[in-house]
């Protein structure tokens, strides 16, 4: 009976593609029904599977075949438990993928079979980032720092991002969609994490802070993303010019690395929050890693909004 339990869903799925397996599915059902009603399983499907496996094992190891033949009920019970567990895990994985864009949930950037290219979860990894940090200090929005979107929104999403990171760039479109969709309810605080080794990463983090000094944070932020990752030595000065910033003051700010300490503080905050790469989003204590689809943000944000209500 145990083998029929295992066989039933497998053959049922294969039966979609082949008539041969449809017949086996019916046999599995018959076997289950008969056994459940204390009758003899007429199809003998369980015996056939048992004999087939024993025969295959005989070819390689008669001793193993003997163990299997003698203890097949226990072995098949173990298999059933494993099967049930893997079915549950698969179902959770599929649910996570549908809801969060990754089989392992919103906060994971691990490999997901349903997203084989990893586009939903890829990040620009932070070298030396500590994994499995149990003492995570979740970041809190700093109302003294710039907020993107409706300032009066009740929920602030924090994004650790890097302007030269392709995945942060990819996520930007979704972030815009989220802010539009939740206009008045959700806003964003963008925290720079310049990825070491990425050209113009540090410079862009410094530039946005120098622009903020002159009251043009959001405009400069938007211009940086509008570069579509095409940065040169002139980019930052050119944007400052386009936005009518005091270019001289901007240049001195950049040259003196005026906000180096602030950048370092942001980095420490990211590390304390367990950020492994950019982009990483925090909605209160819920984490979204990588450029996940809009649905993922929606699921997480709705959950947090419900808590507030």
């Amino acid at each position: 009976m145990v083998l029929c339990w295992i066989a039933l869903p497998i053959f049922a799925v294969l039966g979609i593609f082949s008539a041969k397996y449809r017949k086996l599915t019916i046999e599995s059902l018959e076997c289950l029904f008969k056994t459940a009603t204390f009758q003899k399983c007429k199809s003998g499907l369980d015996d056939r599977i048992k004999s087939q496996i024993t025969g295959k094992l005989l070819k390689f190891s008669p001793a193993t075949a003997k163990v299997f033949y003698k203890h097949y009920k226990i072995i098949s019970l173990i298999l059933l438990i494993l099967f049930a567990w893997s079915t549950y895990a698969s179902a959770v994985g599929v649910y996570n993928y549908i809801e969060y864009g990754n089989c392992n949930g919103p906060s994971s950037d691990e490999f997901c079979i349903l997203d084989p290219t990893g586009q939903n979860s890829a990040t620009c990894g932070i070298p030396g980032a500590v994994t499995g940090n149990e003492n995570i200090i979740y970041p809190k929005p700093d109302m003294n720092r710039p907020i993107i979107g409706n300032k009066d929104a009740g929920l602030t999403m924090i994004e650790f991002g890097c302007y030269v990171c392709p995945y942060t760039n990819k996520a930007e479109e979704t972030v815009r969609e989220v802010l539009d969709y939740y206009d008045g309810k959700v806003n964003l605080q963008f925290v720079d994490y310049p990825i070491p080794g990425h050209e113009y990463s540090y410079e862009s983090s410094m530039a946005i802070k120098c622009a903020e000094e002159q009251g043009k944070y959001e405009e400069y932020h938007n211009k940086l993303f509008a570069q579509n990752l095409n940065f040169t030595n002139e980019t930052f000065g050119n944007i400052a010019s386009e936005l009518d910033l005091n270019v001289g003051q901007f240049g001195i700010c950049m040259q003196n690395r005026t906000y180096n300490d602030e950048i370092e503080k942001d980095k420490q905050m990211a590390i304390a929050a367990g950020v492994q790469g950019t982009p990483t989003f925090f909605v209160n204590e819920q984490t979204i890693v990588g450029p996940k689809p809009f649905k993922t943000f929606k699921t997480v944000i709705n959950g947090e909004l419900k808590k507030v209500q």
């Binding site: 003998g44 015996d47 056939r48 048992k50 004999s51 025969g55 005989l58 070819k59 008669p62």
Partner: protein, 400 residues
């Protein structure tokens, strides 16, 4: 004189090149290339009707079907080709006789206790007409009991329907003796030769049988082919079975004139490719020679018996003496289901054999057995294959 060149013969059977160890010959023999090519010849070169059209292709089919009928006639040493009726299989041949004889209530038919369903059910079906089926019990070891047989006769006995070689255990019935006894009692004899024709020389005239049936598919021939041989006078006096096209000389809205033999019993368009293929199978069997075929099968059965009979977990069905079992080795492994054993042999070494009740349910039910495993050898099997089989069976015995 020099024995069989099995290696050379095996090249005629493409299925064997797959590595399968084919021991299910009592169910279905493999087909040599020559038979398949002969059938293809029909389909490629003259796939027309026989006996109806005037064109050349039709004439060619007529010639080939006639030639096949003569091959069968020669194989059985039948008196004339007219007594050779092509059927779909032995089962249909038996059904033809069962339905074409006019039975009276109280008529008795004698059958053995280990008949294939094909030579039991058609007779049991006649019970509704008041016909009595008497089961003649054999000996404990599966051999025929002539004394019991003689005691089965009465004044009402009309027919003896008996298996020539049992598909259950390979035991041969003493047809010569059976026919003598039956004829002394004025009773006709029908012999089921499904397991004899492929393996041994059969001479229906010498045996003096009245009806003889066999299947083509067990004798290297195509599936869907079979033969009923009958003595002409008996066949002429029998009613038609299936009627329609080909079975009449003429018809009006009021009636029809029966065709002559053999067409009287061959209704509708026939399996020409199959019949022509069966003729080729007969030629092939004659080329190999039944003496050599029997020798090879006996050699293989002797080896299987010697290798496995010493194992106390193995129960051989039928006589212990391999000489009495032809090419059939039927057994059970104590404590294991026959289907399990067969499945394991297939999965481990690709050994194809039969398990279950081999359509002899009645015998298994009477002996309170669920079934058995049957290895049935043919001339293209080798001693090496038997050794592999025996080794695997030994391994399976260790599991029990």
């Amino acid at each position: 004189m020099f024995g069989l060149n099995v290696d050379k013969i095996r090249k005629d059977f493409p299925v064997l090149s797959s590595g399968v160890i084919y021991f299910d010959n009592a169910c279905m023999s493999l087909k040599p290339k020559q038979v398949v090519e002969k059938m293809n010849e029909y389909y490629y070169k003259y796939s027309a009707c026989a006996g109806r059209s005037a064109h050349k292709l039709s004439k060619k089919v007529d010639e080939e079907v006639d030639a096949a009928r003569m091959e069968v006639q020669n194989l059985l040493n039948a008196g004339s080709a007219e007594g050779i009726i092509f059927t779909r299989n032995a089962t249909e041949g038996i059904n033809l006789v069962a339905n074409a004889i006019e039975w009276k209530a109280g008529d008795e038919i004698i059958v053995s206790d280990k008949e294939h369903n094909s030579n039991l059910i058609p007779w049991l079906k006649l019970k509704s007409q008041g016909v009595v089926v008497k089961i003649c019990k054999g000996n404990e070891d599966g051999t025929f009991n002539l004394k019991n047989f003689k005691e089965c006769f009465s004044k009402k006995t009309r027919l003896v329907a008996i298996v020539h070689v049992s598909n259950l255990d390979g035991v041969e019935s003493p047809i010569g003796e059976i026919v003598k006894v039956a004829h002394l009692n004025g009773v006709s004899v029908l012999v089921d030769g499904a397991q004899s024709v492929p393996h041994k020389e059969v001479d229906v005239r010498k045996l003096d049988v009245d009806f003889f049936v066999f299947s083509g598919h067990k004798a290297l021939g195509p599936t869907g082919t079979g033969v009923l041989y009958g003595k002409k006078d008996l066949l002429n006096n029998m009613n038609q079975f299936i009627v329609g096209g080909q079975t009449v000389l003429d018809s009006t809205y009021e009636g029809y004139d029966e065709e002559l033999l053999p067409k009287k019993f061959e209704a509708g368009l026939q399996n020409y490719a199959g019949i022509i293929g069966l003729g080729e199978a007969c030629r092939y069997l004659k080329r190999i020679g039944f003496r050599e075929i029997e020798k090879q099968e006996e050699k293989l059965n002797k080896l299987a018996t010697e290798l496995l009979s010493g194992n106390e977990k193995i129960e051989i069905l039928g006589p212990k003496d391999w000489k009495k079992r032809g090419g059939i080795f039927t057994f059970n492994v104590k404590g294991m289901k026959s289907h399990d054993v067969a499945k394991m042999l297939d999965a481990s070494k690709g050994i194809a054999l039969r398990s279950g009740t081999f359509c002899v349910h009645s015998w298994f039910n009477a002996h309170h057995l669920d079934g058995a495993v049957r290895a049935s050898f043919y001339f293209y099997n080798t001693e090496e294959e038997v050794r592999v089989f025996a080794k695997e069976v030994e391994k399976i015995c260790e599991l029990a």
